[in-house]
Symmetry: C2
Subunit: 449 residues, 2 copies
């Protein structure tokens, strides 16, 4: 009858091995977040569409998964009006940022500000599925909201530093500041061309200085404007040198100077705090420009070719859309899927993450099983992971099971062992075999560790 | 502009404290599952409606949350046919059981059987929200599939025993067997009245023997049939006595005798394995009758009035609906919300789950902060959770922050400490204050632990 079952395109099952590897990433970030005093929260998978719509642009609105109203959704529809908006009031969350803003506003009286939270939950986007892009994927966000201090930016960089140290991945943190970009656009006389200027700068590596300048002209900048910008197009040297060069041309933009002050303060903190990871100013960083108001971050893996694996920035008015203005915050999001790919690619996952049992008691029949049940229970009470094979199948099958699951020891006990009151342990890696008094649980625990 | 934001009815936000308490439950069960060699998997939140429909009865079909097709869902609808089925192909999962069955069938060639998996994920039901019933809630399922051995049932009881021991909750495990119920219906001559008989038996405590007998007659059983059943209606004594009484009347039902054999074997294993928790045969247990084929379990908290907090049973043909017949399995589901209520009600959550930072470095200004950043970083590297207050606010505000977040130590360092090269630690519980050389991180770690 049944056809082979399948899952919706763009979604995934995670089996034991991949699940263990993903948990390793989540456990690592969670542990680091906690060391810095961030608390975990969760929000519902579904939000009211009124919370979600208009927050991600027209394109984002189209990518929302909408949930049909329960009951008879079509009972009272007016066929002359668009149906979707009449039969759906809820949608699946598209990111963790908007629900976080909604959470902060809704619970503002219960929250101690500055509020330092992290959130690790799936999000859904009706994007066209393709390699590395899914319709359901986890985001892993950490934010501090309710303070304008650059120490919050520092803390996120410390967290990034520590997370990738623990994961064994060399990374580069690129840092920019929205105010500096605004300042550049101002000083060259084209304050409304921030995005065009940034997009052009971003191509410098690929197309070279002349082509970048040509692109700026094409986008409507004057030759004089491009000449003013030229010194920052070819920024090089240390972060201090870059800052000095920018300061020399930023004189007339208050916003730009404020951005440079912020960058300078942040790099001062970075140096005081002893960050291991290389941090560099990158003016071409334009991530989420219509959203961020201060620092912008992006993290690249050094030894693996992939897009940014973590990124974020400071926003001054995220909660304003829900009626709570002037609540500045800063956050970054760790990209679990890309970090997974980097760890896989570099072979950085620890062995034996899957947490297989340490020992399998083979099943030699009912009596023999009753004989080993108490020692299996005692071992588990000592924290050892133990399996008892449920069926008295052929030993070959039981050995295969142990091998496929990566179980290191097998214990086979029959009449002989029962009469002597012992249990055997065979190390499947070395082939060595030892016997122990069944009552001597401590010694068995030692042998297994 | 904005109205106060809200979330869909029947859904919840989990703030830091509740989140920490929920994680405590999940971490506890996860740890126990691992000790028994169960592996975690995850399946997508959305499944094809063809996977979900018809698996939960007509009522269940109505409670599925359906997801509107992406793109223009209404572009090609035929207005003369029901719209819902034309515009929705996906739904949110209703439980973890059907997706698990789908997973096993879809991945059968990658799986080592017997397959022991657990799964902790939210499920969604468009039920009318009410106290204790939500439209989004977590399920926490553990199953072993691919073996008919009663050792699998034993293992689940061991897991239940260990989970509630760790959580500090006294429980009673009620055990029944579907085959015994089938047998009783057979021996009294009404094989199609299994559910009516079980529902009636279930009311014994509340309405008494005579009323139960009357209900059976009302449901169509003969007086002779009720007379045959009477000895099992008033079952009492030990599990062995109950088994003996049932065996005395079950002679003519092969299925019933098989059920009694299974119960007897299981109680033999329970006694061999040294289960701490009381386990009792309860014939009135009827949970999911059209689904289970062998053992049925239900767990009740002893000292808190609430429905069952964990339950499950053996199914012989769960994967048959997806084309893989004869794959017997057994599983239980832990009810996270009810277990949460029990732990709250009995005051069994450990203190300080929220994992507040251990120490807050007060912010006395830019210089002072740069002075403490390295020691804060060093403490974190030693595993201590540390916050540095981001703003140089009034000390009163910083003390309030520490208090609200339950941070035990505050460290206030100004010119005096900087000139001496020391840091202060004030214990907010005892009021005691001590000073340490800023370079002596080990001693500071000791003082904080």
């Amino acid at each position: 009858m049944a056809q082979k079952p399948s899952i919706p395109k763009g979604t995934r099952d995670f089996g034991p091995q991949e699940m263990a590897e993903r948990n390793y990433i989540f456990d690592t970030v969670r542990e680091v977040f906690r060391t810095y005093g961030y608390s975990q929260i969760e929000t519902p998978s579904m939000e009211n569409l009124s919370t979600l719509l208009g927050k991600y642009g027209d394109e984002g609105d189209k990518l929302l998964f909408r949930i049909l109203n329960s009951g008879d959704a079509f009972a009272d529809v007016d066929m002359s009006r668009p149906l979707a908006s009449q039969v759906c009031e809820k949608g699946l969350r598209y990111d963790l940022t908007v629900p976080f803003a909604r959470f902060v506003v809704q619970h503002q009286n219960e929250i101690s500000f500055p509020f330092k939270r992290f959130q690790i939950q799936p999000v859904w986007r009706a994007d066209r599925p393709q390699k590395g892009r899914y319709r359901e994927f986890y985001q892993c966000d950490v934010d501090a909201i309710g303070s304008r201090s650059q120490l919050c930016e520092l803390e996120l960089i410390q967290i990034i530093d520590k997370v990738f140290e623990k994961l064994g991945v060399g990374v580069l943190v690129k840092i920019n500041n929205r105010k500096v970009l605004t300042g550049l656009a101002e000083i060259c006389g084209f304050p409304d061309k921030v995005i065009d200027i940034t997009v052009a700068i971003d191509k410098l590596d690929k197309i070279g200085l002349d082509a970048v300048k040509a692109e700026m002209i094409e986008k409507g900048l004057s030759a004089e404007a491009v000449a003013i910008l030229e010194p920052v197009l070819t920024l090089s040297g240390s972060n201090a040198e870059k800052l000095a060069r920018m300061r020399s041309i930023m004189g007339s933009s208050e916003t730009g100077l404020k951005g440079l002050d912020e960058l300078e303060e942040l790099f001062g903190f970075i140096s005081s705090a002893g960050i291991r990871t290389e941090c560099e100013i990158d003016l071409s960083l334009a991530r989420g420009l219509n959203y961020y108001t201060g620092a912008i971050f992006e993290v690249k893996a050094k030894d693996w070719e992939i897009g940014s694996i973590c990124g974020g920035g400071r926003y001054d008015n995220l909660t304003g859309i829900f009626g709570l203005p002037d609540m500045s915050g800063v956050g970054v999001s760790f990209g679990a899927d890309r970090i997974f790919d980097v760890l896989k690619g570099l072979g950085k996952f620890p062995d034996d993450l899957c947490g297989s049992a340490k020992v399998l008691f083979a099943n030699m029949g009912a009596k023999e099983t009753e004989y080993v049940l108490p020692v299996a229970a005692a071992l588990r009470s000592s924290g050892v992971s133990v399996e008892v094979y449920p069926d008295s199948s052929k030993l070959k099958k039981q050995f295969d099971y142990a091998e496929r699951k990566g179980i290191q020891f097998i214990s086979i006990n029959g009449d002989d062992e029962m009469s002597k009151g012992i249990v055997n342990l065979k190390n499947l890696k070395t082939g060595e075999q030892e016997s122990f008094a069944i009552s001597d649980v401590n010694q068995i625990v030692d042998a297994l560790s």
